[in-house]
Symmetry: C2
Subunit: 377 residues, 2 copies
């Protein structure tokens, strides 16, 4: 992997860069659509390319459970499998383990960090790794820092992520510190594993945690920097802590991150949040929002590319709205002339085409935003 900074701005930490990966080049700042189960929901590889995307994210947790990383390896790797020729970043699977685990019925109560008894989730963390149950069939599985790297190696992604503990929000300082210790322990083991089994066609990114505590974030930034990963990711900033705290964390971290490495802000996809994060020096973003909102008939619109509004096309006010989603929009839905009334009708009628048109619009809008951001730097 090679990362070059092409241009910087004098009045912020924003930078335009070029990421050279095994499967090609990626202009940054860039947004990655999420191909959760091996596809960005409803959108083909050709469509993603024609929307202008150069890098997508695939989920290790989902692909490990189905069809299995060994199956994908035998089929020639994730790129071949998905028929996507450009770079792919795979997450570590940790986020899904923790977030899906949270929703499950508690198994055994155990003391929490305040000394009170609490219900454990179906996720059992110990220093070795994390036990979890499949959301598909309830079967028990184990992820360790080493194992998720081996899985990502089988998948053959361009960028692999280390396993981290996604600290729940809110977390007390003590809980956040203890959770961070686990994340650091795993990061170190990831680094050691990587030094022994490095795949020259795959870059490895470390993840900074520390919840909303400034000194924990600072400790984490320094520690993860010391392990000299190819890139630096920041986790736990889009977990329900609200914009104010999210922006605070971005502002702290921006100046602490090694300027020569790509900076990936995980799970952030609201247009305004991306714009703010770019100013703080972040280069990569991922989020399920464009397709998740789209599937429910909600679309982003903007007139000035500074402020963005959401329209819920299922609402009665759009029943007779012949206009396209957004004026002068170049997305496949708007440029073909599909009306708000039609898309709203389709989503209400649970017709796949409606979800697709709204998702295509949102994906186009985010990529267009990234283009405009890059041009403005």
């Amino acid at each position: 992997m090679k990362f070059s900074i092409i241009k910087k701005t004098p009045n912020s930490l924003a930078r335009r860069g070029l990421l050279q990966l095994a499967h090609g080049k990626v202009q940054t700042p860039a947004f990655m659509p999420c191909a959760t189960g091996g596809a960005v929901k409803g959108i083909s590889a050709e469509e993603l390319q024609s929307l202008g995307y150069e890098l997508i994210l695939a989920n290790t947790y989902h692909l490990y459970l189905r069809p299995g990383e060994k199956e994908i390896r035998k089929l020639g790797g994730l790129n071949k499998f998905m028929n996507w020729p450009k770079p792919i970043l795979t997450d570590s699977g940790g986020y899904q383990v923790f977030s899906l685990g949270k929703n499950w019925r508690a198994l055994n109560p155990r003391p929490n960090y305040s000394g009170e008894m609490a219900f454990a989730s179906l996720v059992e963390v110990n220093s070795e790794g994390v036990w979890f149950k499949s959301h598909l069939d309830g079967s028990k599985h184990f992820f360790s820092p080493e194992k998720v790297l081996a899985i990502q190696n089988d998948l053959g992604s361009d960028i692999a992520m280390v396993l981290d503990e996604c600290t729940e929000f809110p977390a007390t300082f003590e809980r956040a510190r203890e959770s961070l210790a686990m994340t650091h322990h795993w990061a170190k083991r990831s680094r050691e594993y990587w030094q022994r089994f490095k795949n020259p066609r795959q870059a490895l990114f470390g993840i900074i945690q520390g919840s909303t505590y400034k000194n924990l974030r600072e400790i984490s930034a320094k520690y993860i920097a010391s392990l000299d990963f190819d890139g630096l990711a920041v986790g736990g900033v889009s977990v329900g802590e609200g914009k104010t705290k999210m922006y605070k964390v971005m502002r702290w971290l921006g100046p602490w991150l090694d300027k020569d490495k790509p900076h990936y802000l995980m799970g952030v996809g609201e247009p305004e949040d991306i714009m703010e994060a770019v100013k703080r020096g972040f280069d990569l973003f991922d989020c399920v929002l464009p397709t998740r909102l789209g599937r429910h008939g909600t679309v982003w619109v903007t007139t000035n590319w500074q402020k963005f509004r959401r329209l819920d096309l299922r609402q009665a006010q759009y029943r007779q709205d012949k206009k396209v989603i957004m004026k002068d929009c170049g997305c496949p839905a708007c440029s073909s002339g599909y009306s708000r009334a039609y898309i709203g009708h389709l989503v209400k009628a649970k017709e796949m085409l409606g979800m697709r048109l709204a998702s295509l619009h949102n994906l186009w809008l985010i990529n267009e935003l990234m283009k405009k951001i890059r041009q403005s730097i």
Copy 2:
């Protein structure tokens, strides 16, 4: 509407024709994909055009219930609403009323035509029309021959269909005769209504019923011919009676139909059945099969365009199958290189893209078959 026969074959009733409708020309024999709720499931208007379709079918029952024909009229009609510039045929809604009604819990037992008590469906037929309950909210609605024409007029389709009673299968001769009498009564009223309120931009097709009884089919063919509709449709041939009986009905009817009018065989979409029906003089076909099979991961393949096989890509045998669905196939899925293994995985993972790729393949294959059929005549 104008229908011209371009070419005939000496050894069968097959003919190549051109149907000129308000929104353009349609080469026949032609297959119509079904846009049930205002969209062919998951497929955009541009995709249908680039697959080569010139005529699609939209469902009056579904559009009447949601968003409502008046809403669509205010939005400029069905073509504008769906962003589909080419011809549309709307069914009468009758088939949905009867077929959806059948699945509902019985309300009141009443004597059937064998004199035994039977459970009535939620559909109540009398000579005025048919009462039915919405499958969306259970609300009660009434369709009469006149009302479904008024609805189709609001929708603004190129071809409207008369209301008929879809005789259940199996039906005794007495039941089939009585049901046919209702269909004829409604056809006559449709004709009278049409003479008073004719829309010059809309053609009207009559429907021949009569179950699997030769003399009833003959009576119906003559009666419907006497009403001088723009086209002749044959209903009740794909209702579970099996291929042998379906083929028998086609063979009887072929020679009886007015040669100067287009012949539409309703609900038939299996490749072999279409090929057989073309030889019997049929010009138009519709069926939900291409997209229904596709949504479940089943695709048609053929090597010689005479015999067709179904592959269920969810089966274990395709887990490591790197091949495209069909060799030398020009469909969007195969020509982009998506593998059977990938599509099977996506369908199993309930990923929309899998359903779409399989549906696009099936729709492409049927249209390609129609092209080959036309070329062979």
